[in-house]
């Protein structure tokens, strides 16, 4: 049995880093940078350790299991109180690793931030703490606590450090996007909040402890009523259509590292929530509602891909591709079979790394060119070969090319979907083809072809960007070529979800 | 009809008339005078209810001091000369809700079966009982009331006082 302090550390380290930064005078920008990158690296190390120390085929479903009594024996809660119960299963382990990777890459990329970088990193670490907390929590209260904590700093991160987009017929200011993102996500969490209350009251055990609640067999009608709350509430964070519009706008407006973390990790919180709260807690409700989810997921895939095709802005294209790819996750989850759900979790990981890479690259370009208009570029490969290489890898991974992580994930999802809904599976595969269309259009237009003299001053990736991107690519390829470490952990846990056949 | 009944209905009529005067009079000063009528009538009601002490207080403090204060205020604010400005535009609604409220209360109080109504023997409360209760059992409210009066005093002074010009400069 491994020590739960590892998990606690993943939450506590960023929190303490945030507190520690409070006491650093904001003029020591380089020190703040160095410290933050070090913290990012430490988190990466911790998550790597947790991932590999996770033991396969154990009897316990949750490892690193540990509890700290937070509030005990209070009237409202009875003698159970609220416990900070941490633990991960294979899904959690994969997500933890994802968070570690993207956080590290994100802090590296963030080293470019110069404007009030102390405040920036404080907020960033709060966000990261929240994300780690969600993935590691086995208590409904803390799950929700960290869930909200992860959303909270977004407003400021986007509104202060973000960027606005102006198009010919309309504009999306960063304030607008930040507000929309925050409001939609918090609005969705309202549903989760209500669902948590309902579950707590219905169970009548006076506890929020998830493994305990998993033992409860809720009334079927109750499950059918409550499951949609979790499905929608968490689904919105996963970019569920038609509540997805916060995602492209928000991700576009956000500063680079925040887009990376948000699209890369936070959207996964939603999908993770559907598993943890929806499928594990209310299996019958899940079974009842999954046909709806899979249809919505399919719409997500196609709608996101088609919308991405029409975008004229680099980052919007990436943003809509996130919507599309998260659709695969939803589809996979909705299959309710081991292969599909396994694929969904793989896709969560894969999309996380891949989209983080894409946003990192777009950010790098935008920082120099101050525009993200696709039509404005051309022949970038000459000035920025590494940039193009990295971006292309992300692009090819996202269109499901074998050898990259996206293929492994999507392939599993397709297998799962075909088992249950072949027609939707075919549409999903069509979505992958559409992805190819817009990715390749973008590459042909912006990266290749004659060079545009306007961009003579562009520099290739800086060293930190190179390092951050390389870490991400390493995992994209690792998972694409040798997926077993991931699949073994994930499948082991997926098979334990009730109702998964 | 007994004497008490006659007195009651006369007093009640006076009180209602005074009340009507307060809310309907065209001149503020008349309203104040009507208020005095009403207050004295209420004092009469208190006597009927065997509370001479209260009646006394009512006449001394209320009908005397308070109304004089109100009259002073009216004079100081010099607004009694515009009859058309006396009644606000919302009087129809106000009349309706007031009537509804009054009707509801009357309906309630007349249909309720009040506990202790049957054996209700009105006994005069001796002054000394009242006094000792006031200073023993009800000492706390009494003391708080003194603070209330103190606050009112301080507040009135602070607010009403014209400040010396040199303080403005600070």
């Amino acid at each position: 049995m491994q020590s739960g302090y590892i998990l606690l550390a993943t939450i506590a380290v960023p929190l303490f880093a945030a507190v520690a930064l409070l006491f650093v005078p904001s003029r020591h920008k380089d020190a703040i940078r160095a410290f933050s990158v070090a913290v990012g690296f430490a988190l990466f190390g911790l998550s790597l350790y947790a991932f590999f120390a996770y033991q396969l085929s154990q009897v316990e479903q949750y490892q690193f299991d540990m509890r700290w009594m937070w509030i005990e024996n209070v009237g409202i809660l009875g003698e159970n109180g609220i416990t900070l119960h941490l633990g991960i299963d294979g899904i959690g382990a994969a997500m933890l690793l994802l968070t570690g990777i993207v956080t590290f890459a994100g802090t590296l990329i963030s080293a470019k931030i110069d404007y009030r970088n102390k405040d920036y990193f404080i907020l960033l670490f709060l966000l990261v703490a929240g994300v780690f907390g969600v993935f590691a929590s086995l208590d409904l209260f803390f799950w929700f606590f960290f869930y909200e904590l992860a959303v909270l700093p977004m407003y400021l991160l986007i509104a202060v450090w973000g960027s606005s987009s102006v198009f010919s017929t309309f504009a999306r200011t960063k304030e607008y996007s930040a507000m929309k993102l925050t409001m939609v996500l918090v609005g969705a969490s309202v549903l989760i909040f209500i669902g948590i209350f309902a579950v707590f009251v219905e169970a009548g055990l006076g506890t929020f402890d998830l493994p305990t609640l998993y033992e409860v067999e809720f009334d079927e009608n109750f499950q059918k009523i409550i499951f949609p709350l979790f499905m929608l509430g968490c689904g919105v964070l996963a970019g569920l259509w038609p509540f997805h519009t916060w995602s492209p706008d928000g991700h576009v407006a956000a500063p680079t590292a925040v887009s990376m973390l948000h699209a890369g990790v936070l959207m996964k919180l939603g999908a993770f929530g559907i598993i943890r709260l929806g499928m594990q807690l209310l299996p019958e409700g899940a079974e009842f509602w999954m046909p709806v989810l899979i249809i919505l997921g399919t719409i997500n895939v196609l709608y996101g891909a088609i919308s991405a095709m029409a975008q004229t802005d680099f980052k919007y294209m990436v943003g809509y591709s996130s919507v599309s790819h998260m659709g695969y996750v939803l589809m996979g989850l909705a299959t309710m079979n081991a292969v599909g759900v396994n694929g969904a979790v793989l896709q969560m990981f894969s999309h996380g790394v891949m989209t983080a890479l894409m946003f990192a690259m777009v950010g790098s370009l935008y920082d120099q060119a101050h525009t993200r208009e696709l039509a404005a570029f051309g022949g970038l490969v000459k000035r920025m070969p590494h940039f193009v290489a990295f971006f292309s890898i992300a692009g090819l991974a996202s269109l499901g090319l074998p050898g990259f992580s996206g293929f492994v994930a999507e392939f599993n999802i397709f297998l799962g979907v075909f088992r249950t809904y072949p027609a939707l599976g075919a549409l999903g595969i069509l979505g992958a083809a559409i992805t190819a269309v817009y990715i390749l259009r973008m590459m042909a237009r912006a990266f290749f072809g004659p060079e545009n003299d306007k961009w003579e001053s562009l520099q290739d990736l800086s060293r930190v960007e190179y390092a951050g991107g390389a870490v991400l690519i390493a995992f994209i390829i690792l998972m694409g070529v040798y997926p077993s470490p991931f699949v073994d952990r994930i499948a082991d846990s997926v098979l334990r979800i009730p109702g998964i056949g | 009809m007994t004497v008490a009944q006659v007195i009651f209905y006369v007093v009640a009529a006076l009180a209602v008339a005074g009340g009507l005067g307060v809310v309907l009079a065209k001149h503020a000063v008349y309203a104040a005078l009507f208020l005095i009528v009403a207050l004295i009538a209420v004092a009469g009601v208190y006597i009927l209810l065997a509370s001479e002490f209260l009646a006394l207080v009512q006449i001394l403090i209320y009908a005397g001091a308070v109304t004089v204060l109100l009259l002073f205020a009216l004079m100081l604010t010099r607004t009694s000369d515009l009859p058309e400005a006396m009644t606000g535009a919302q009087w129809p609604v106000a009349g309706l809700v007031a009537a509804l409220l009054g009707g509801a209360i009357i309906a309630t109080v007349t249909t309720s079966d009040w506990p202790g109504d049957e054996d209700g023997m009105i006994t005069r409360v001796p002054f000394d009982d009242l006094g000792s209760a006031l200073f023993q059992q009800w000492a706390v409210p009494f003391e708080i009331a003194s603070l209330v009066l103190f606050v009112a005093l301080v507040g009135a002074i602070v607010l009403a006082r014209e400040d010396e010009p040199e303080e403005e400069g600070e």
């Binding site: - | 002073f72 205020a73 006396m86 606000g88 809700v97 606050v151």
Partner: protein, 108 residues
């Protein structure tokens, strides 16, 4: 004095108070002069006092809590008038009116 219980039912006192109370409410709602509103409030307070005393007399005469209550109501009412007049005077000095309809800068 004769006990009036047999002669006048409690309900009559209560009805009187109800009428005074609603008159007071009407006054508060319709009067535009702050001082007159205050007078209407006095009517309402008197109505409450009548209730108190009547209940005390009829229901639980040995405790006479209602009468004590009425004493306090009168006290408070007096203090209230004093304080309110100070405020009204202040507003009259600053704004030149005691008409509550004209004091409506703060809204929405």
């Amino acid at each position: 004095m004769e006990p009036v219980a047999q002669q006048i039912p409690l309900e009559h006192f209560l009805a009187l108070s109800a009428i005074l109370f609603s008159l007071g409410v009407y006054g508060v709602l319709t009067r535009r002069n702050a001082v007159l509103i205050l007078m209407s409030v006095e009517l309402m307070l008197n109505a409450a006092s009548i209730n108190m005393v009547a209940f005390a007399a009829y229901a639980s005469p040995e405790k006479f809590t209602g009468m004590i209550f009425a004493v306090f109501i009168i006290t408070i009412a007096a203090a209230e008038v004093g304080l309110a007049l100070a405020i009204i005077l202040r507003i009259f000095r600053n704004l030149g009116t005691a008409n509550v309809d004209e004091v409506d800068e703060l809204k929405w």
